[in-house]
Symmetry: C2
Subunit: 223 residues, 2 copies
DNA sequence: CTCAAAATAGGAGATATCTCATATTATTTT
DNA sequence: AAAATAATATGAGATATCTCCTATTTTGAG
């Protein structure tokens, strides 16, 4: 983990236009952290010392179950908070958060600023907004996972992550994310190929029948 | 739906000690609504006109999927908000909320007070707190549902809802809530009886082996 | 009290998904 | 370049869960 100093730090502080977050001026206490791919931003079971806000990069939230099974429960993307739960509650939290690409975030030491943050209207509104979106998304994922077989959820995931008609995610990440076994993921992918929705070339899959995938994915979101 | 007036209204306003929610004094604009069992507090697809806070009773959140299947996605209990999403976002929302017992809540007309609410720190903090808990719970449910078979989730549910060793929920509600088919729920319940965890008398089930159920449920929460 | 609707109950077969085992191929480390 | 590790692939059999069907019992409305 690297903490940016001087000009580099200044650059990011300006870029993030942190005025939008706070009425109070935290600027001089704000740290800019960079985490390398694979590094743990928060270790599971450890109480974090900072409130983070992701500026660049991508991270993953993991939970380890008692049976040893580890689930990827979500991605964290730019413009999202990390550690807001710990700011609000005293309960401590046991999720692990790992950078999955180089990740740059701003970091506010919780211990020193908790009280002030909780009195800042601008910040609170921003936070409440973020939380409401987060909780909606989670609820969506939940009932989707219950109500639909992998076929539908995978179609949706493919459409969301495909780049120019080409799908090329790591199976391991995907099956964690969708909560199915590696084996079954491959099975359904093979089915998609067999049915002509996708074709496989090497490690990549090309979308052949966009409409059918869209149709499958549409069942998830009932709009 | 009944709107309380005068003394009845006053009673609930005092009981809820609404000072804890707001710095501003909304008291005279606050309505107290009572919904009968089965009544819709918010109809699916309809934009609500109030922010609610449940004082007494229990409600259910439903979503209807495109395939016509309806999922119960959660219960709403006393001391929880309803409609906070609509307050924060302009997006409108398509969940249906139905009272499952007589439900009394306070109701703030959103149109008139939105702006003021969003400037009230006390309220925002309360709301952020609520949302963070909500989203955590949802996340928990999500990964539980993915990682564990019904056996574990049902054991947990039984322990949570059993009253004095007796479990007596409606199967229909439960299978919606746990996201499994009616048939399968019965099957696992029958298994529990066969294995001696429960015994069945009429429509009720009595817990015979509390320890095993606890053990099954414990896998869900890894503490 | 009566009838319709809702809830319970269980059989049978299909499908989705998992576990385990074993090869092969990329990628990273030394 | 060799060795170690991670990722991909696939078969086979087990289990969890679903759908459809049909019968009985309970509950609620009139």
């Amino acid at each position: 983990m690297e903490i940016y100093k001087n000009e580099k730090r200044q650059l990011y502080i300006e870029k993030a236009s942190i005025e939008q977050f706070f009425s109070l001026s935290l600027e001089e206490f704000l740290e800019i952290h960079e985490y390398a791919r694979g590094e743990w931003i928060i270790k599971e079971g450890e109480r974090p010392h900072y409130l983070f806000y992701v500026l660049e990069g991508k991270a993953k939230i993991y939970i380890t179950h008692q049976n040893g099974k580890v689930s990827l429960i979500n991605f964290i993307n730019p413009n999202e908070f990390i550690g807001e739960m710990e700011l609000l509650n005293d309960v401590y939290y046991t999720k692990g958060i790992q950078a999955s690409t180089k990740t740059i975030c701003f970091a506010i030491p919780i211990n020193s600023f908790r009280k002030q943050l909780l009195e800042d209207n601008k910040f609170l509104r921003k936070l409440a907004n973020f939380l409401s979106v987060k909780s909606t998304k989670m609820a969506e994922k939940y009932y989707q996972s219950l109500s639909f077989p992998l076929e539908n959820r995978l179609a949706d995931f493919i459409l969301q992550t495909a780049d120019n008609g080409m799908y090329k995610e790591k199976h391991i990440t995907v099956c964690e994310f969708l909560g199915v076994s590696y084996r079954h993921l491959l099975h359904v992918l093979a089915q998609f190929c067999e049915k002509g929705y996708l074709t496989k070339q090497g490690r990549a899959y090309y979308i052949q029948n966009h409409d059918i995938l869209t149709e499958l994915a549409k069942s998830l979101r009932n709009e």
